[in-house]
Subunit: 206 residues, 2 copies
């Protein structure tokens, strides 16, 4: 066998285990929160040693960040799947998709937003960029709805709206300090988007 095949066989195994470790870590975070994630548990569940987890991810933060990276990728994929036809419908779709993702993966999303790096190490640029990308998805439909506004202004508006929606959803899904009852959240969120757009001068959706 040639080198490429040998390496790819080895790599395949390595990648397979890496994926397993990530999946296990994700399950811990998703089911009991980031606080419940333990290196020993992950290693044991994957049937390997603690050291191997460190070989793969460098340190504990590395494992968390890897899961977070995949979380934001999944979120972005879901948001990008919203069709771009009618801008008003698209905005509602984006808000609703965000709510859906947050509902199904509350702990994963919390881990993304609440995780703090050890020591003051900088937050990884690539994750930051991916989050900004997700934020930016509101921009295009808003530009279409507000053609007369300065695009820079609309960029800020879209970030404001995204942040507002994020706040409504994240507080709404927090079981403690219930801001808005979850069962009403979907409907109310749509109403919120409509209201805000109306305030921006966009006539209410059909």
């Amino acid at each position: 066998m040639n080198i490429v095949q040998d390496e790819s066989r080895r790599d395949r195994k390595k990648l397979q285990r890496r994926a397993l470790l990530i999946e296990i870590a994700r399950r811990y975070i998703a089911s009991k929160g980031l606080i419940s994630l333990r290196v020993r548990d992950v290693a044991e569940a994957a049937g390997c040693s603690i050291g191997s987890v460190y070989n793969e991810f460098g340190d504990f933060d590395g494992l968390i960040l890897t899961v977070n990276r995949e979380t934001v990728q999944a979120l972005t994929a879901r948001l990008k799947a919203i069709p771009a036809g009618d801008p008003l419908r698209q905005l509602h779709g984006l808000a609703d998709a965000y709510l859906g993702f947050a509902t199904e993966h509350a702990n994963l999303l919390r881990a993304l937003f609440e995780h703090r790096m050890e020591d003051d190490r900088p937050f990884p640029d690539d994750i930051l960029a991916m989050v900004m990308d997700a934020f930016a998805l509101m921009h295009a439909p808003l530009v279409r709805l507000l053609p007369d506004r300065d695009p820079d202004d609309v960029a800020l508006l879209s970030r404001m709206m995204f942040s507002a929606v994020h706040g409504i959803i994240s507080l709404g899904l927090e079981e403690r300090m219930v801001a808005v009852p979850p069962e009403m959240l979907r409907e109310r969120l749509a109403e919120f988007v409509d209201t805000h757009l109306a305030g921006l001068g966009v006539s209410r959706s059909a």
Copy 2:
């Protein structure tokens, strides 16, 4: 000396040290985040033993929750100081006061919203009630601005607005993933409130 005076003298000392411990813990959280809080550091800084911290607060969570309680009290006091004269001005004042508090005490506010209890112990009811009280402060001015709406509806609206403002501020002040540049935040937040009120049918502020 009689019993009462003896006890109050002892109590005074105890309360004094309790206040010192809280103040030290608050300073750690405020300056480097909840993650930097350590029982040993607090005890050493207060010149007492680890065990005394446990006698005073039960456990680590108890210390954190005590600081959080005072944080939400300080926040509520600040929000309640906004005069109730003009409802529109009051709403702007509330949003601005929240932003001001969040700016000055970003880490304390984060500790309040992001702290998770150990084990799944329930979140303390009194803190929850205090946060709900703070949320409710938007209710009265909104009722005055929307006299024709069902009060229950307005209650939900006010929670939505509070959550939205919270999201804008908390993401805006997060240095990583900067949603809205902090220097613009104040102005933009006011604009956001105006826009949303306009969407609700309230004519823009004078």
